[in-house]
């Protein structure tokens, strides 16, 4: 017959395991995702890019494609930085014109980030399409920031 101490420890372990199964496991926040995006932005800032203080962020199902419409001005060079707080993710990021043609260049992937540059051929609305796919998590965080020079 188990001792009282062992029995209590077993009950705590079983309860903890049950809670871990039921509750979503937090893997970072959207603020952390933004921190990663800003990490990716750092070398660009050194090259003269101005980072916008306003940005997009959220939580989404792993692998779900997202699209954002954004105004770009011909004559500026832009860079977009996508970050996630979730480790072991595949990040995709593309900038498309009104016809859905890609206009970005120099895609760079690093730990929990991806960045692209774009010189818009015309002033107008472009679509930023991206996704964050985790190998282990059902939900992921993301933050998308941009800069210009």
């Amino acid at each position: 017959m188990p001792s009282m101490k062992t029995s209590l420890r077993s009950r705590v372990l079983v309860l903890t395991a049950a809670l871990a199964f039921i509750l979503p496991i937090a893997q970072g926040t959207v603020d952390e995702a933004h921190d990663y995006a800003m990490e990716a932005a750092t070398p660009f800032v050194e090259q003269g890019y101005t980072v916008r203080e306003d940005y997009w962020n959220g939580e989404v199902v792993s692998g779900q494609k997202l699209a954002i419409k954004h105004q770009l001005f011909k004559g500026n060079e832009y860079a977009f930085w996508l970050g996630t707080a979730n480790p072991d993710c595949e990040l995709e990021l593309a900038i498309l014109d009104v016809k859905g043609q890609p206009v970005h260049m120099e895609r760079k992937a690093a730990k929990q980030t991806v960045s692209v540059r774009v010189n818009p051929p015309k002033t107008g609305t472009y679509t930023v399409v991206f996704s964050v796919k985790s190998k282990t998590e059902r939900g992921v965080t993301w933050a998308l920031a941009y800069g210009y020079r």
Binding site: W56, G75, N76, E92, G100, P102, K122
Partner: protein, 268 residues
Amino acid sequence: MPLLCGVFATGLAFGQGSSAGVEKFEGGKFPGFVVDEVVVPVPSEIFAVLDKLGSPNWKDELRKIKLPETSDRIELSLVFGDVVAEGFVAVQAQDKQTVEDIGRDVINLAASLGLTKAVRPHAQSILDAVKKNDWKGVRKELDQTQTTVRASMQEMRDDDLSQCVSFAGWLRGTASVTSVISKACTEDRAELMNQPMLVEHFTKSIAGMSPSARKHPSVAAIAKGLLKIRQDMESKDGNISQDKVNSIKATCEELLTLINKPEPKKGK
């Protein structure tokens, strides 16, 4: 800043197999979510292009803003957006005195809106940066001020006021841009006015406001003005004529005059 994801399909769709992981447009429904949050460019994004295309006299574009004596929060929010955008013009003109005045106006307006705690650090940073001729720093703080004010308003469930800050700032920025373009209009410069998505976003924002905000005289006038601006931006190839640039400029100026000189309330 937490943002919501919109859940509606667009007309875009994507195929597989193009180079370097890039997907090509093929038609059909977009297999994902369209995030409906719009990040509005700050005036300095367009000013930067104008500087590359010529040497505008930014001092000519400065305007003196007299803060209205009002407790109307919509009017105050509109003026706030106008003042911050004026700050961006002052940075282009490298006019220290105007930037200092704007820093103080920002503090006063924030007090009237109950946002002193959120805004004061940024306003102080603006004043500190301008003393050091740190124009990049001033620009960054103006951007942060606007972002912080909008976020604070959203936290206070004052989304209507947040939108007022946004489109008033856009109107002021656009008034400057069209003024510069009209003085030396070229196709490259006029093309900068190809912003129908932003105008539609502002129009949609106003339509989504509370009835009392939508019916506010200034907001109603702005809604009407935005429709006119959207028509002027209509173009098959993104090229916008000088006449249309001048028309956009005139509409923006009219609306800014209204924002800065609100009609006196009846019955007072």
